[in-house]
Symmetry: C2
Subunit: 249 residues, 2 copies
Amino acid sequence: MGVTSALDLNDARRLRSDRARQVADLLRCQIQRGAFESGVLPKEERIVAEFGTTRNAVRDALDLLRAEGLVERLPGVGTLVTAVKVPHGLHRLLGLNETLHEHGDIVNELRAGGRITPPAAISARLGLPEGEPVVYIERLRRLGGVPLSLDQTYLEPELGTSLLAQDLEHEDVFVLIERLSGPLGRADLTIEAVNADPHSAAVLEAPRGAALLLAERLTHLADGRPVDLEFIRFRGDRLTMRGTLHRSL
Amino acid sequence: MGVTSALDLNDARRLRSDRARQVADLLRCQIQRGAFESGVLPKEERIVAEFGTTRNAVRDALDLLRAEGLVERLPGVGTLVTAVKVPHGLHRLLGLNETLHEHGDIVNELRAGGRITPPAAISARLGLPEGEPVVYIERLRRLGGVPLSLDQTYLEPELGTSLLAQDLEHEDVFVLIERLSGPLGRADLTIEAVNADPHSAAVLEAPRGAALLLAERLTHLADGRPVDLEFIRFRGDRLTMRGTLHRSL
């Protein structure tokens, strides 16, 4: 088996768009890891040489990153990094302010808050009798003034009622729960990618159809009681989730 | 604080589309958890009563789920579940065949495979001297004949070369690595949501711009050596990631 020229592997069968995707993924990863300290990507010719591919594949790759809102081409200057996504830790259960404390302050806009009689599916998840009220909170969360996530939160009624009197604008729900009810235990988490519906896109100030990370998270107190069910829409262009998996448990 | 009527919380300030999103999220979650055994959603009137919201909000919610490809309306029958996403475990490091063994067999189409001279960024991640070749493998992975993910894999050269002679069509790279090089240790994982570029969408047989889960994963052997760097595009309409987070480490 010979060594083929870098990314032009199996050239005859490999499309320019396959190479472009490959280049784009490597550049995206480098942007994310802060490899371009000046905020300017290397010149096209340098990327072509470094990746051992064609100028067309590199141009297409830069177009893909531009479509994702990560870079912008500035005539006479080059390709600038315009967005670096913030990392949400997956290594332990953390609120947004906790996990992003190095990146700035999260400010929450309370869009709704109060007691509701929930559908049976919510009662079941929270281990409550059917028909018992829960507290519902809806927040738009901003980092640096720009929307980062839209959160729908269903809380066990006693805790939730106390929580409504707290500083929901500046504090994580997790921190408030621990102050009011004692330590948290575990959370069951499901992560999906969905396209933003038009209204969610408008609220999040994202393009229609933008890719979102949708997290459903059921959080329990340390004693095992489920108290907090959340549906969180994160803007895909602003946040990644980052953690470590182990082969043996 | 009084109990407002279910999801019509703070009615005056709350838009129909906010309520629709809320209903859609709860239904999506129930679909995902297999709550509708018959594969048919309850009639609109029942959802309206159960959620304590308006018929318009329920209709909009069903439209959102239809746009996501999860349900379909069949005149005279009702709203049918057309897709249930398969769950990729986040609790430990698993290959796709391992994590989805209850859901069917994964069949891989090898789109490219061979030695390349990688860009410096790849060498650095794999702990290799610059200019040393790596093995690149590109696979389209199908479950039940339908594309689930498109994987780009960069492997340490010795291991990668042995791996090229294995049954890459039917086996997980993780299983093959363990057979050839001994037990895996940990992987560093980053998860993002991105819109599919036109070519990736075509390969994955997904709509243009479809939301994808993009995973970047660097896997190490048990002795700590990094051997496998992957960029994986999962179709957002076919797969979720599911795990448990703990508050204390």
